[in-house]
């Protein structure tokens, strides 16, 4: 009996010490982690809105309400996480950066930011979190000439459709070869962003 109590006490001590150590490290790293995440987000914003000098949170933005708008429009796999306004040097609004999470990826959630100007032109997207198959779906992250992501740059904001037979008209997007699920997830995510953007400029959820 004594032995049992001793064993339990030692185990409790180890667990409590480990718990304290974790709490301590958490407190120390909380601010740097928040800063690092903020920096990553700012970088994604800057990628999709190179002209903007600063980004400002949208007044009265509510993630749940925004998500409901796109869910009602049929994009049930997508949530709108955040939306910020891109401002130029003198503080005039240039457009919006909308952060979308799609749960329709092959390897789980894909989170990315889409930049759309007030003239309804898409500036492309930048992925902040993705875990697709290397060499297939991961290509959605590649940037530059001829990549999947470059298809969205300078396109008019409309509802896009993925095609496997070569894009012919302005609303078609070429799928990543052998990664149709990823292609559809990202494209529908962009569509959800466009839908929310339309509701913004159409004077729906926000004045």
């Amino acid at each position: 009996m004594n032995k049992l109590v001793k064993d339990a006490l030692v185990l409790t001590c180890i667990t409590v010490i480990a718990g304290f150590a974790l709490g301590l490290v958490y407190e120390i790293t909380k601010t740097p982690i928040a800063k690092a995440e903020e920096a990553a987000l700012q970088k994604a914003y800057q990628t999709v809105f190179a002209d903007a000098k600063s980004f400002e949170a949208l007044d009265g933005f509510d993630s749940n309400a925004a998500t409901k708008i796109v869910q009602d429009a049929g994009y049930t796999d997508d949530t709108i996480d955040n939306c910020v306004q891109a401002l130029d040097a003198s503080g005039n609004p240039l457009g919006y950066v909308i952060t979308v999470t799609s749960s329709a990826g092959y390897g789980g959630n894909i989170t990315f930011s889409v930049g759309i100007t007030n003239e309804s032109v898409i500036n492309g997207y930048s992925i902040t979190s993705i875990s697709e198959t290397a060499g297939l779906g991961m290509k959605a992250r590649d940037e530059g000439e001829g990549t999947f992501s470059s298809q969205f740059i300078n396109r008019n904001a409309e509802i896009f459709k993925v095609t496997k037979t070569g894009a012919h008209d302005s609303s078609e997007i070429d799928a990543i070869s052998a990664a149709t699920i990823t292609s559809k997830a990202v494209t529908n995510g962009v569509n959800a962003g466009v839908t929310y953007f339309n509701s913004l400029v159409g004077g729906g959820a926000n004045e």
């Binding site: 032995k3 001793k6 064993d7 339990a8 030692v10 185990l11 180890i14 667990t15 480990a18 150590a21 974790l22 490290v25 958490y26 120390i28 790293t29 909380k30 601010t31 740097p32 982690i33 800063k35 690092a36 995440e37 920096a39 990553a40 875990s131 198959t133 290397a134 060499g135 297939l136 052998a178």
Partner: protein
């Protein structure tokens, strides 16, 4: 050869966790889609393995035998979480590329295996070298499997396309079935090597992982099954 160097050699070659002990097959299957992933997972495991080996070795006289399993798991899980927090806060770029592997380290049986079979019975410094050796051995194993799968599955090596192979790659090898196929060939090959070495009278260390057929090869077998070791 001094004892510490012997531990390094042991982990890298004689008892290589991936090829000889067949430990940690779960992360091996999951992350070896490319060579760079193998290196990333291997090195993060090494860091946790070194820290947990040292801590468990330092506490080896304090932890009662009967509760050693939960004590080891608490230590390992705490280190994994601490490493994750530190990386996320201070090395965010490294975290973006390795982040998904870090929680996987907790379930890596190499760490618990080494804690049980080496660190809990030996002093701190040799345990540290055991961790470095085993960790690097795991890294080498994962990287080699990653290279095979990346070359066959994506026609590239360390993300650099090999011409003209990149037009003729077999996508299957980048996916889960490819992992099992490569692992199957690997186990077959190791069984041949094992038999050859036994004939020569220099048997390899016994496989400890689940791939030995039952849990008999594992030093933790008695803890899981209640059966005494033979």
């Amino acid at each position: 050869m001094n004892k510490n160097l012997e531990r390094l050699y042991n982990g890298l070659w004689k008892e290589n966790p991936t090829f000889v002990l067949m430990l940690g097959m779960c992360p091996t299957l999951a992350v070896t889609t490319s060579a760079i992933n193998g290196i990333g997972m291997g090195l993060s495991t090494t860091v946790v393995l070194v820290l947990s080996n040292m801590m468990i070795s330092a506490l080896r006289n304090l932890i009662p035998d009967r509760v050693r399993m939960p004590a080891f798991i608490v230590v390992v899980a705490s280190f994994v979480t601490i490493v994750q927090f530190l990386m996320q806060g201070f090395l965010p770029s490294l975290y973006t590329s390795l982040g998904i592997y870090i929680p996987l380290i907790v379930v890596n049986c190499i760490i618990l295996g080494r804690a049980e079979s080496y660190a809990s019975k030996n002093p701190v410094i040799p345990s540290m070298f055991d961790g470095i050796g085993m960790g690097l051995g795991f890294t080498v194993g994962l990287t080699l499997i990653g290279i095979v799968r990346e070359v066959l599955g994506n026609g590239s090596i360390f993300d650099v396309a090999i011409k003209p192979l990149d037009n003729f790659h077999i996508t299957l090898f980048g996916l889960a079935p490819g992992a099992f196929i490569v692992l199957g060939f690997l186990v077959a090959l190791m069984n041949v090597v094992r038999r050859k070495m036994e004939e020569k009278g220099r048997p390899l260390a016994k496989a400890q992982g689940c791939l030995s057929g039952d849990c008999a090869g594992c030093t933790l077998s008695s803890a899981c099954t209640g059966k005494e070791e033979k």
